[in-house]
């Protein structure tokens, strides 16, 4: 049924993942704090994800292993959206939006709260305020320093002034929820959550945004530089399948977004007519005697239905549309990562070819650099596949939650309407019974 079969991959344990290779018997229970098991002498370990060795956590490796196995365990579905099989030790929340007005500009800040037991953090709790710019900085830094990983998307940066009110409660609420999701996803990622930029974001009073952690950016840049000039000849089918899946999924998301917007539009227009409809009943009741109560009753029910419809539309635009858009952005990120992977592979193959030719010519051995390239490619592939699995699993949870939520809201809408009509019917039937009793007594 599926065009691509990303889940049909072999467990990545078969590939040489530096983190797993360094471990003996990883125990899921061991916390990051406990096991600072540094892979012996493997300088390459540092290169794969660009983070300094100190922050690589064996616990996260084991969780990676667990996740990479085909997981048909449906119990996963009942767990928290972002839970992994390990116990979480980093909790982040984004809430409490506030408007700041200065002479130069007006902007919103959000409270970012952190609770953690990780020793990378000096304190167990933090609470500070950040603005969108800061999130944007963080994301940029993560992308640069972790090019082999999928970075979750941020809500849209630019909004058309005059079209969207940047300070409306609705907009701020929606944006805040998206920022919260972003941060939670990063904090939940076994590799990204140990990124020092995240640490700085969560703890530093002042984000000195210009100061780059030199070591990291250098590594990041090396990955980027490597990209130029090489063309990929044969992409392994699993990655092509991923790309195709993303394209189709992107299309379907776009379609669903359009459908949802169309429904919203129709519902809004329906609401306009329905309001007038109710008021006609109310007006009519003014010229009636014994029909007054039934007519007023109908007007009241129609009015209740209008309110229920309003709620439904509001929840659609606040809950449904943002998630659809978020996943479109996610797809973009994923496609970027796929491209980088391609480039990394292309570079390796290019260098290898050149080296082989050289070897044939003058017996120069294949340089170490080429082997390093190969490692890079294989690590990239492993990271990518791990992130892909995570992403698929999260996507499934997200959409399951989204769609059941949408179904719930619709059910509530109908329930509200039904109970209004129901109580009207019983009221009117009671009245009728009374009236007939009266006439019988005459």
């Amino acid at each position: 049924m599926s065009a691509g079969a990303p889940r049909g991959l072999q467990p990545v344990t078969e590939a040489t993942h530096p983190l797993s290779a360094a471990q003996e018997a990883p125990s899921p229970a061991s916390e990051g704090a406990a096991g600072r098991h540094i892979p012996s002498g493997d300088a390459e370990a540092a290169l794969t994800n660009g983070t300094p060795i100190e922050t690589s956590s064996p616990a996260s490796a084991s969780s990676l292993l667990n996740r990479l196995q085909l997981d048909d365990d449906l119990e996963v579905d009942t767990l928290d959206l972002y839970a992994s099989t390990e116990t979480r030790d980093l909790f982040v929340t984004v809430d409490d939006p506030k408007k700041h007005v200065s002479t130069m500009e007006t902007y919103i800040t959000y409270r970012v709260s952190t609770k953690t037991t990780r020793i990378e953090f000096d304190l167990p709790e933090y609470s500070l305020r950040r603005r969108y710019q800061d999130f944007d900085w963080l994301r940029m830094k993560l992308e640069d320093s972790q090019p082999t990983h999928l970075i979750p998307p941020l809500p849209e940066k630019f909004v058309m002034k005059g079209v969207v009110d940047r300070f409306s409660e609705e907009f701020v609420e929606t944006r805040m929820k998206a920022l919260d999701k972003f941060l939670k996803r990063v904090a939940d990622h076994p590799v990204l959550s140990f990124n020092p930029h995240l640490n700085a974001f969560l703890t530093a009073k002042d984000l000195n945004k210009r100061q780059g952690l030199a070591l990291l950016t250098k590594v990041g840049e090396s990955v980027k530089q490597a990209a130029g000039g090489y063309k990929l000849r044969a992409r392994p089918p699993e990655y092509s399948a991923m790309g195709e899946y993303l394209d189709t999924f992107n299309q379907k998301l776009g379609t669903m977004d359009r459908i949802a917007q169309r429904i919203l539009k129709e519902q809004t227009e329906y609401l306009v007519e329905l309001r007038e409809y109710g008021s006609v009943y109310a007006g009519w009741s003014g010229s009636e005697d014994s029909l007054r109560r039934p007519l007023e009753g109908v007007a009241g029910c129609v009015s209740t239905c209008c309110g229920a419809m309003e709620d439904l539309s509001e929840s659609m635009s606040q809950d449904l549309l943002p998630v659809l858009r978020e996943y479109v952005l996610y797809i973009e990120s994923m496609k970027t990562v796929l491209k980088k992977r391609d480039q990394s592979q292309a570079e390796y193959e290019g260098r290898l070819e050149a080296a082989v030719i050289r070897k044939q010519e003058d017996k120069t051995p294949v340089p170490l650099e080429v082997e390093k390239c190969q490692d890079r490619v294989e690590c990239f592939n492993a990271d990518l596949k791990a992130d892909w699995e995570r992403w698929q699993s999260n996507k499934r949870q997200d959409f399951k939650q989204l769609l059941t939520g949408m179904a719930d809201k619709n059910i509530h809408y109908y329930e509200k309407c039904q109970s209004a009509w129901e109580s009207l019917v019983s009221r009117l039937q009671e009245d009728q019974a009374e009236n007939t009793n009266d006439t019988d007594c005459d």
């Binding site: 599926s2 065009a3 429904i263 227009e269 399951k400 039904q418 009728q432």
Partner: protein, 435 residues
């Protein structure tokens, strides 16, 4: 409002049946108020419709629909028994003729209206074509309802022309025309279009006229907005069908999520399709409202007739007063009122005493006749007011009862729409949970 189209028995049912949840049953309940002598004898139904073609009065081809009127003995039971009379086929224009006859012959009765001549207040998917089978079917039911209302009216049900309409294939048209009602019809038409002012209008009737105007406005407004609501509702439901398609396409690229998405999509299709039946059912409600919209015309007719009679009475009284005035002048010689005779006698000389005597005598006779005329008109007027007010009372009770029932049925219908919605979204939710 609508009699059950399939059954041939239209018995009187208990009007206090409050718990019926089917609008069809409600329709039978509310329609027949009391059993008349006619209904004790026969059951009436408009059983079928048929298309015919023929030449019209200007010798052009036309296609029209005819309706079969069946009358059977009331106690015939399930088999039906032999029809009473010819079981004539009648077209809409003949119904119109019958109604006009009744309007003219019983001006104090609120005459039941016919179903609409052309489809109005149509939401966009419904056909506005007179030959459309759905329209014809709804018209058939409306015509049956019309006949039943007449048959259950204490006065109208005894009318011979009505009975002939039900039972005689040939010659009915001639019988109607023979009654000479056309003459009265012409004068009635004149009265409807004439602008005259009544000096002492009866408050009850002015109130009634005002009420019928208000009712007319309210119902037409309601029907207009209902159409817009129906169109919008249709749009909302139909767009959900698109979810069905996209879920199906999306499920093709998913592994675990696929099945749940696919089945949820089917439920979305079901949901989207359900709106057709919902709106079809609402048409019955709209038809009930329409009948009362058209009833307001009948109410206005009665008011107008009263006005006309009142006006004629006032004119007769005025005329009598003028004549008495003239008599006074003739006897006293004082000329206060202008008369041609008076002017000419001034110009050409006084008339002789003999001439004056004969004129006085003629005037006296005329006054006598006028006095009798005024008494008669007065009596007629009061009789009209009494009879019409009784029928208006009957109508009001019927209207209150039936519209109340209609509103309750409407509310019950809305409840079932909600139930359907809950069902389909609960099913979809189950599928989503399996994703």
């Amino acid at each position: 409002m609508m009699a059950d189209s399939g059954s041939e028995e239209v018995a009187v049912l208990d009007n206090t049946d409050l718990t019926s949840t089917e609008s069809e049953n409600n329709a039978i309940n509310t329609m027949v108020e009391r059993e008349t002598a006619l209904l004790r004898k026969i059951d009436i139904s408009v059983a079928e419709s048929e298309k015919r073609t023929g030449k019209n009065t200007v010798n052009m081809h036309e296609t029209y629909t005819v309706y079969l009127i069946e009358t059977r003995p009331a106690d015939a039971g399930a088999e039906g028994g032999q029809p009473v009379g010819d079981s004539p086929w009648r077209r809409y224009s003949e119904f119109e003729l019958l109604r006009t006859f009744l309007l003219v012959t019983y001006p104090y009765v609120v005459i039941p209206p016919l179903p609409e001549k052309r489809a109005e207040f149509v939401w966009h998917k419904l056909s506005a074509d007179n030959l459309d089978p759905d329209f014809v079917e709804r018209r058939r039911m409306g015509l049956e309802n019309f006949l039943m209302r007449i048959a259950s009216h204490s006065v109208l049900s005894n009318d011979k022309i009505f009975y002939q309409f039900l039972t005689e294939e040939k010659g009915w048209r001639e019988s109607v025309l023979e009654t000479g009602f056309q003459d009265k019809a012409d004068s009635r038409l004149k009265s409807l279009s004439a602008m005259f002012r009544v000096k002492n209008p009866d408050k009850c009737f002015t109130d009634l006229k005002q009420y019928s105007d208000e009712l007319n406005n309210a119902i037409s407004h309601l029907l207009r907005v209902r159409v817009k609501v129906a169109d919008r509702m249709y749009g909302v439901y139909k767009v959900h069908g698109n979810y069905g398609r996209v879920f199906s396409e999306w499920s093709a690229i998913e592994k675990e999520m696929g099945d749940g998405l696919q089945s949820a999509g089917h439920h979305m299709d079901t949901h989207s399709a359900s709106v057709d039946d919902i709106l079809e059912e609402e048409e019955h409600y709209a038809d009930q409202l329409k009948e009362y919209l058209f009833y307001t015309d009948a109410l206005r007719s009665v008011c107008r007739k009263h006005e006309l009679m009142q006006y004629e009475l006032e004119m007769a009284v005025l005329d009598l007063a003028n004549k008495k005035q003239q008599r006074e002048e003739l006897t006293t010689g004082a000329v206060r009122v202008f008369s041609l005779k008076g002017m000419s006698s001034k110009l050409f000389g006084q008339e002789s005493p003999e001439q004056r005597e004969s004129r006085l005598a003629a005037l006296q006779l005329s006054i006598q006749a006028s006095e009798e005329g005024v008494l008669e008109k007065n009596r007629e007027c009061r009789e009209f007011m009494r009879m019409s007010w009784e029928d208006v009372k009957r109508f009001k009770e019927q209207k209150d009862r039936e519209l109340r029932e209609a509103l309750i049925s409407y509310a019950i219908m809305q409840m079932s729409v909600c139930k359907k919605g809950i069902q389909v979204w609960s099913n979809a939710k189950e599928c989503f949970n399996k994703m």
